[in-house]
């Protein structure tokens, strides 16, 4: 039986050290069962309700980052070397509440109180990332950053008020220099990794490839926002876990002249921020990808490698012409993203290979590129797509020089709509072309009927979304609820 190395993190200014924590133990289990802290709640055990939200602090480029994450699906060992805040860690020793807490009291933001610790922690994350930096929190920002926290009692209005009220209360500060010193000390005092540990998190890509070759049976994890559910819901147990999130190369975003290159362990939140900076029209889509705690934990590489047919990154990346770089001790190879997949959650990666980078061509001049992504789900925010359609056309005057279309929710893998692309390429960008292409797109896939939508609806709406794309390309306003603007109501 292999063992794990001690798990160490900073909480309330002190180093917490735990021995023999199994590789699949969740952070929530450690907090509630091992550390007897019952403040953090389990609402769903799958990262969808946010009751278990905690905030992680880490050093990145000499600065502290604060990320609200779901502790219920986060593996405990993944926070080794970080700072952890739970709802019990915010108030002063004299009982003075943190502004995130006091605002919730004053705005009547808690009723049954069970979701409250999670909301408080998301608010604490917002406090550190906005209020502490002198940035205002308006209602829209509050809605976006709290969309991963569910409340069944209040109807949210008082909680959104609380988010905006925090900044008016006496400030609370984190002693960042001291915490950074503690984190650095923790990093320096990390024992040398044991080769046979059951939780391996190498610090370089080379070491990662070696570990992968040595332990092809190990379960690879990144942010664990899906593998976490295999543990909590499917009750899977892994003898060994290989965590890719500590490999320095995989945590970087490189902004090159023609491409954005994403290390596979870049959190979704950061990856989408870079994509949105390049193509601002992706902003709403980025905000609709799960909730912030999932985007903070989950990685772009994890979303891609996992290859779910309803993962939202892949249709977008396919449309953008992204490639993936696979790495192993034998070297690297690069292939189009859609070529990664061979079937339902199956891919071309060899036993010793892992996903290292995702390379995304940058936007050309907006004059030649038409690019949009549409998502249909039952709930606007924090939901999985019934259908996701990403479209990118390069126009040459009135002609479609090239078409690149990624689709989710219609097949066993994320797919490229090659027939629809062919129906558009070289054609004039006119209503007739669009009408023909709509029919092709509706007929190109045989989606299943499931709890998210029927096959007929998925087909029908695919064509209709192409119609919406056409209308928007022609400058039509008010044809998309996402961008609906109305006179003051």
């Amino acid at each position: 039986m292999t063992t794990t190395q001690p798990l160490r993190f900073i909480r309330r200014g002190q180093t917490v050290t735990l021995g023999n924590v199994p590789p699949t133990r969740t952070l929530l289990e450690v907090l509630r069962e091992d550390l007897h802290g019952s403040g953090t709640k389990e609402g769903c055990g799958e990262g969808d309700c946010g009751a278990c939200t905690v905030v992680l602090g880490a050093e990145e480029d000499g600065r502290l980052t604060y990320r609200a994450v779901n502790s219920c699906i986060r593996l405990a060992h993944s926070v080794d070397g970080m700072a952890v805040w739970t709802v019990e860690d915010l108030s002063d020793t004299d009982g003075t509440l943190h502004p995130a807490q006091e605002a919730m009291v004053q705005c009547h933001g808690s009723q049954c109180g069970f979701c409250t610790p999670g909301f408080v922690m998301s608010l604490f994350g917002m406090y550190q990332n906005h209020v502490a930096k002198g940035e205002a929190i308006d209602r829209k920002l509050a809605q976006e950053e709290l969309s991963g926290n569910l409340c069944r009692c209040t109807g949210y209005r008082p909680i959104l008020d609380a988010a905006q009220h925090m900044a008016t209360l006496p400030a609370a500060t984190v002693d960042e220099p001291s915490l950074l010193r503690k984190l650095q000390h923790l990093a320096q005092s990390t024992p040398a990794p044991e080769a046979d540990s059951s939780y391996i998190s190498p610090e370089t890509l080379a070491a990662l490839c070696e570990a992968r070759a040595a332990h092809p049976e190990a379960q690879i994890v990144a942010g664990c926002t899906d593998v976490g559910l295999w543990i909590t819901k499917m009750h899977m147990e892994f003898e060994r876990v290989l965590d890719v999130t500590r490999a320095a190369e995989l945590r970087r975003i490189e902004d090159g002249p023609t491409h954005l290159s994403f290390g596979a362990a870049v959190p979704l939140q950061d990856a989408y921020a870079a994509l949105v900076a390049d193509r601002p029209q992706l902003k709403s889509f980025a905000a609709r990808f799960a909730g912030l705690p999932v985007r903070n934990s989950g990685t772009l590489g994890g979303n891609v490698a996992n290859g779910s047919p309803i993962g939202d990154s892949m249709p977008l990346l396919i449309a953008l012409g992204a490639t993936v770089v696979l790495a192993s001790i034998r070297g690297t190879r690069e292939l189009p993203l859609e070529a990664l997949y061979t079937g339902y959650r199956k891919n071309v990666m060899a036993a010793d290979e892992l996903l290292a980078f995702i390379r995304v061509p940058k936007a050309p001049s907006p004059a030649v590129e038409l690019m949009k992504v549409y998502k249909i789900s039952k709930r606007f925010d924090d939901d999985i797509s019934a259908v996701c359609l990403a479209l990118r056309l390069v126009l040459d005057g009135a002609l479609v020089r090239s078409a690149s279309i990624g689709v989710g929710g219609v097949a066993a893998t994320p797919v490229r709509a090659v027939r629809t692309e062919a129906a558009l390429t070289g054609q004039p960008w006119t209503v007739d072309t669009v009408r023909d292409a709509m029919a092709v797109l509706r007929g190109e896939f045989q989606p299943i009927s499931d709890m998210r939508a029927s096959s007929d609806y998925r087909r029908e709406v695919l064509g209709n979304l192409l119609q919406r794309f056409w209308l928007e390309s022609q400058g039509w306003q008010q044809v998309n609820l996402e961008s609906l603007t109305l006179e003051a109501l």
Partner: protein, 789 residues
């Protein structure tokens, strides 16, 4: 900002009473600090074991055998408990007696609990539960309400309510409409899942911590299953992490299961459901299907209504009888139904046993008549608000005038109760103005004419909701008020705190009754050993019943103190006032604590019970007539929505609510109930879709697939106002119940969606919108061929 602050001034000295002010929730500071304890947070007693359910994976079948060898061999597993291990009655002590504790010879739905694995850890129990192999011989399953009705598969006999002659009225009506309607169910999704912790005590006594709205019933069920008298079982609940009706009967199941396991293993057992198991095992809001024929004149005035309501009750009766009854009682909503013929079928299907859920059938009654009135208005080309308005019950007569009982008075419900307190005429008028309904309706029509893809709709719908348990006997409550010698006050009552602020309101009431500051009163956990035989905290009645009982208990203590002070000062008891922490007699003003200490020294009783029963109500279950409700709560909402004709996606853009809570005991808490109820109702009708597959498996069994509203779903404009008038009946502090009525205000969203769909169609055809109005259902309604039903 909907959070009001109201300070009541009293004479020259500003004395702020506890009630009428937006006090913070009594647990708010603990909740935000993670210091409020729920059942799973209680320190575990040494030796505690953990349980997980073994569930049927078949909708209907004969349970032939169980192979649990593999499960028993797993690490940490202590035992597996089945029906044969139940020491008492193997049937639950439910009303209808039709549910086994654990499945016996047959399984009746996917998720039915067959047994319980008990292990050293939660995860060990859950892993092992999946390894238990059930040998089930599959039997035909009934999965839809229509199949059940066709097969006359009912959990309880049908109920018919008639007044006048609907058939004759229909034959004489200038216009008639026939239609059908399908309204989906709803998962409670309390954030704290179901949980119970059963602890054997000495001499075969039991302590059960249960997240329950009805500790008394949990006590009764556990005693019944263990073969004990009720006095041997004590059930405690400090708070729930949400209830919404889902912890009225359903909590009892978990408590019984945990207790049976604890009985067999002779150690404490905790059973906390995984969220997915919670979805699979417990009942939900009843899905309903309807068929109707309605007659009306050129103005949309209703004349006759024939209505069949088919409730999908699931596999057992549970609370389906009273739920379906309440749907019948609310099929009028706010409208006078002259000649009416309602049939209510309680259909038995092989699904979870559907149960109480905020509104308790009321929403399923209200939505059908609102749907009908919206359709009539569009059929006639009239403003739906105008059609709703002319059908309202007559306005309330001045207080004190004898009630006019003639049919012309249009003030008697179809079950024979006079509507004496109707305030909807002025209430609707005020909301119509404050929401600028008419101007916006015109603006929307112009906008829709020019907008090719996005269509908007606006609708105002009222609610009239009957307050009281329809089972008259439940309308009683008890409370205890203890005054300690330091002047601090503790109150305990038979109600339960599920987030609705009951304990806060009760403490406010007690504080004012004793004239002490709010902070001096502390409410404690619901406990069957303190208040026996308490009713469920349900039917919106928590404050009406327990608040009054606590007020009476406090009044008894106050009377004792007043008599004592009278003796000191030689004045009449009526001359003593309790205010601002002082006891004021014509002779002297004393500090409350000083009076308490002197009274104690003089052996005066400083604690008391209080008991309340709701007056005036009576109801004949055989003839379905009488006065089931003490009063009605009223309200109305104006909702505006937009839909996308290409995809069926929708957004709620603006909501204005005007709601009647009588004189508010705590405006912030009441507004919290209104907003929260509205948003929950909006979820029921828009995003929350329960999907059972062809094998009866609930495929939306987690928040990843079942979508309750999130922060982004609430409208940019969300205005809530309280109607400024006291309850016309004598109710505690002039207040009205608030828990359920606002839920039905969300029907305005459904009606606004239908308006938008009608605009999208533009063909004048009837709008048939299946609820919930998911994007797919909206697109279906937009694209449905005209004339197809």
């Amino acid at each position: 900002m909907n959070a009001p602050e109201k300070v009541v001034m009293d004479g020259a000295a500003a004395v702020i009473p506890a009630a009428g002010v937006s006090r913070f929730h009594e647990s708010a500071r603990a909740q935000v600090a993670g210091a409020a304890h729920y059942i799973d947070d209680l320190p575990e007693v040494r030796g505690t074991l953990f349980a997980a359910p073994v569930m049927s994976n078949v909708a209907h079948g004969r349970l032939v055998g169980i192979d649990d060898t593999a499960a028993r061999a797993m690490p940490g597993v202590r035992d597996i408990v089945y029906s044969r291990d139940v020491p008492g009655d193997k049937m639950l002590a439910a009303f209808a007696g039709d549910e086994p504790v654990f499945a016996i010879d047959t399984v009746q739905h996917v998720g039915q609990v067959v047994g319980l694995v008990v292990a050293d850890t939660v995860m060990a129990a859950r892993r092992a539960a999946r390894k238990v192999k059930l040998d089930i011989e599959i039997l035909p399953a009934i999965l839809s309400v229509h199949e059940a009705h066709a097969a006359q598969s009912y959990v309880l006999p049908p109920v018919f309510v008639k007044r006048g002659d609907a058939a004759r009225a229909l034959s004489r009506a200038p216009h008639t409409l026939e239609g059908t309607l399908e309204i989906g169910g709803q998962e409670h999704f309390y954030l704290e899942g179901q949980v119970a912790y059963a602890l054997p005590q000495e001499q075969n006594q039991w302590l059960v911590h249960s997240s329950t709205q009805h500790p008394g019933e949990v006590q009764h069920w556990v005693a019944h299953a263990l073969g004990l008298h009720n006095h041997a079982v004590k059930v405690e609940c400090r708070r729930m992490g949400g209830g919404f009706g889902g912890k009225e009967t359903q909590a009892g199941h978990l408590a019984v299961w945990a207790a049976v396991a604890a009985h067999k293993l002779r150690c404490p057992v905790k059973l906390r459901f995984d969220r997915d198991d919670d979805f699979m095992v417990t009942g939900k809001r009843h899905p309903f299907a309807y068929k109707y024929t309605v007659g009306f004149d050129d103005n949309g005035l209703l004349s006759g209504l024939k209505l069949s309501m088919m409730a999908n009750c699931g596999f057992s009766a549970d609370l389906s009888g009273p739920v379906a009854d309440r749907a019948v009682f609310h099929a009028d909503n706010a409208y006078y139904l002259a000649d009416v013929d309602i049939a209510s079928y309680r259909c038995k299907t092989n699904t979870q046993s559907h149960t109480a859920f905020r509104g308790f059938g009321g929403p399923q009654g209200v939505i059908v008549i609102e749907n009908i009135l919206g359709d009539i208005a569009r059929e006639l080309g009239l403003d739906p608000l105008a059609v709703r308005r002319i059908n309202l019950y007559d306005a309330a007569q001045p207080v004190g005038t004898p009630i006019d009982t003639s049919p012309e008075a249009r003030n008697h419900t179809h079950y024979g109760m006079a509507v004496e307190d109707n305030i909807l005429h002025p209430l609707l008028e005020r909301l119509e103005a404050s929401s600028a309904y008419q101007a916006r309706r015109s603006a929307i029509a112009l906008w829709n004419a020019k907008s090719p893809v996005i269509k908007r709709g606006i609708a105002i719908t009222p609610v009239k909701f009957g307050i009281s348990f329809t089972a008259t006997l439940f309308n009683q409550a008890g409370a205890l008020v203890h005054v300690y010698t330091d002047g601090s006050v503790q109150v305990n009552h038979g109600g339960t705190e599920m987030g609705q602020g009951l304990n806060t309101k009760v403490a406010q009431i007690v504080a004012d009754e004793l004239g002490v500051p709010f902070e001096r009163v502390m409410a404690t956990a619901s406990d069957t050993s303190k208040i026996p035989n308490a009713s469920a905290t349900a039917a919106s009645s928590g404050t009406d019943l327990n608040g009054r009982a606590a007020q009476y208990a406090a009044r008894n203590v106050r009377d004792n103190l007043a008599s004592f002070v009278c003796g000191l000062d030689g004045c009449g008891a009526g001359a003593i006032r309790f205010k601002g922490g002082q006891v004021i007699s014509p002779v002297a003003t004393r500090d409350f604590t000083d009076v308490v200490q002197r009274a104690y020294a003089n052996r005066i009783q400083l604690w008391s019970d209080g008991f309340y029963r709701t007056p005036k109500i009576h109801y004949d279950k055989a003839t379905l007539t009488g006065r089931p409700f003490y009063y009605f709560a009223y309200g109305a909402a104006c909702s505006e929505v937009a839909i996308d004709m290409l995809t069926g996606e929708s957004r709620v853009l603006a909501v204005d609510i005007l709601h009647d809570v009588g004189t508010s005991i705590n405006p912030a808490i009441d507004i919290g109930q209104i907003e929260g109820g509205f948003v929950q109702g909006m979820g029921w009708l828009t995003t929350e879709q329960l999907v059972w597959n062809e094998k009866g498996y609930l495929s939306t069994h987690a928040p990843s697939t079942y979508k309750i509203p999130a922060t982004g779903d609430i409208p940019a404009r969300f205005q809530v106002e309280l109607w400024p008038e006291a309850n016309r009946e004598d109710n505690v502090f002039g207040s009205k119940a608030v828990g359920e009525p606002p839920f039905m205000l969300a029907i305005s969203v459904y009606e606004a969606l239908k308006e938008a769909i009608a605009a999208a169609r533009g063909d004048g055809a009837r709008v048939l919108l299946i609820a919930p109005a998911t994007a797919e259902n909206v697109l279906c309604a937009v694209m449905r061929p005209a004339g197809a039903d």
